[in-house]
Structures are given as structure tokens and as C-alpha cells.
Subunit: 144 residues, 2 copies
DNA sequence: ATGAATGCAAACCTTTTGCATGTCA
DNA sequence: TGACATGCAAAAGGTTTGCATTCAT
């Protein structure tokens, strides 16, 4: 099942309507794939596909998409909220470079040991998919 | 050396001035100890100690305090920034409960293996002291 | 037909900034 | 005295909301 089919399916399932605006926004998210984007950036991209779509609509749609888990809201540490298209993928952790702002996906499996350890030591159940680890990426480490 | 002595010391060292406002703000942070607070909350607390201190001053002071590493800015995921008094302690990672908002300190040593692993696999150098791991705390896990 | 979605504009909220005034060193 | 800190008010900037209108179902 294609991504768009899945999208239509989920909308119907949850009683949301299919509108040209929503299609354009999903299309734009599709373009940036796994990259994280601001609502503003999506608004720009959408403007090229279908001009005249309001920023408020972008926000409302992102909100709706996160309800159907098509999009995930990322915690960037700054004041801007970041969004990421996840489509059918599982949520996964990220590495966030404090210098260049780049975000890298990490295999959840890499963190299994950490997860077990924290569970054992503190009884704490971590949300691996929500984890964003700050630090310095290889490129920035060398460039300074 | 007491916390306040250390505070005075650090101010002098970095050329910052000691003002009643700054003392009151540090006092308020002292009251909430390891808890995370918003600038707004600090402003309330400070208002009880010494009325008339402006919110802008709270912000400017928190900024200054984070420069001398008396306070740490925490990434809550929401739109509000959280602050935590760290005083003389070294920065350390935290566990953040998504349900009750409680924040727990973690021994940096617990994360050494993770740190090495990410360094090896991705060349990524993590800021252990800045790491905040989201999840569910023991109490909230049981309460639902 | 009718309730949901949109566009527009205004409101909101947290944080930041400019500027005149006050104050610590 | 002189640079730094404060209070006040206004600006900024991202996000949300109210409302009349349009549109998908």
C-alpha cells in the first residue's frame, strides 16, 4: 500500500476529510522525507505546489497528522518546533549536533542496552523513539 | 564553601555585579533546589522575597546564571523553557517523566557505554551533561 | 444539506530588546 | 565616576483561535 493510500485510509478511518490542502502538505512532507522541518518551511514548500495555503492550515494539518502518526513533533531544544515525516516508519531516536543543527537517525537497537540499564537501575521506562541526544557531529568535531 | 560564597566568587571572577535582584533570584532557585522551573515561576517566587523585580530581569539573570553554570536550561519539549538550579554540581543527564514531569538526575557514569558506542558507530560526541531522556517514571508506570 | 476545513486577521504567550534611570564597584 | 544592571514598555516571533465562508461527503 502506497504512502498516499495509507494516508487516505487513515483519514477515512478517523473521520478526517481529504482536502487539496492536506494532500499538498503531505506531498511537501514527502519531499523532505526524513528531514526535520519547521512549520514555516513546510509552508514555503507547499506554496510552490499549491499557492495560497495559509500557515494556520499548515499548523492545523500538522497537528492532525501527528494524531494519525504520520508526522512526529521533535524536540529541538530551541524555540521552534520541528516536525518530521514518519509515514509508515517507526519512531526512532536522533543525534542532534549542537554546532550545525544536523539531525541523524539512530537505530533503536543501538540503545537497547541503555534502555535495559535505566529500567533496572531506576525503574524508568524510556521512550526510545522520542529520544534526541545532543552533541557534536563528526564534521563539526573536525572543523574546529 | 557555601553555595552563596561560590556564587559571589563566580560573579567576581567573571566581572558580573552582585545585586539584590540577583541574590533574590538565586535564593528562589535555592528554594526549589533540583526541581525544574519556568522563568515565570521563578518570577513568582522572587516576588515573595523581594517584590518589584521584573520578569525581564529574571530572564537576563537566568541567562547570566547559565553562563556561570549555576543554572541549566532544560529542553522540555513543550513551548516553555525550563530551568534547573545546579549550583556547584557538575552537569549531569536527566530522566524526564512524560506523565508527571518529574526530573531525575542520572550518574554520568551510567552512560559511558552509550557514549562510547555512539562515538564508535557514528563518530558522534555526545554532551552527556545536556542529555534529557524522556520516558515514564516508576510511579507513573504503576499508577496506570 | 451540514458539519468540518479553510483563509484571514487578530489574539496569545513566552522571550527579547531599546532606552532612560538607577546603582554597584 | 562610569560601566553595568534594572524597570518599563514595546517588539518579536512562533503558534493558536474566532469567525465568516467554502467545500467534502
Amino acid at each position: 500500500m502506497s504512502c498516499f493510500e495509507k494516508f487516505h485510509e487513515l483519514l477515512k478511518e478517523r473521520g478526517f476529510r481529504l482536502t487539496p490542502q492536506r494532500e499538498a502538505i503531505v506531498e511537501a512532507l514527502h519531499q523532505v522525507q526524513g528531514d526535520t522541518v519547521t512549520a514555516e518551511r513546510i509552508h514555503e514548500l507547499v506554496g510552490q505546489l499549491e499557492p495560497g495555503i495559509d500557515l494556520a492550515t499548515v499548523y492545523r494539518t500538522l497537528e492532525m497528522l501527528s494524531q494519525i502518526e504520520f508526522v512526529k513533533s521533535i524536540d529541538s531544544g530551541g524555540k521552534v518546533r520541528l516536525w518530521q515525516f514518519v509515514g509508515a516508519e517507526d519512531p526512532h531516536p536522533h543525534l542532534l549536533c549542537r554546532s550545525c543543527g544536523m539531525l541523524f537517525g539512530v537505530e533503536p537497537a543501538e540503545l537497547e542496552q541503555l534502555s535495559g540499564q535505566l529500567r533496572e537501575l531506576y525503574g524508568f521506562d524510556i521512550d526510545i523513539g522520542q529520544l534526541t541526544i545532543p552533541g557534536l557531529c563528526p564534521a563539526c568535531r573536525q572543523g574546529r
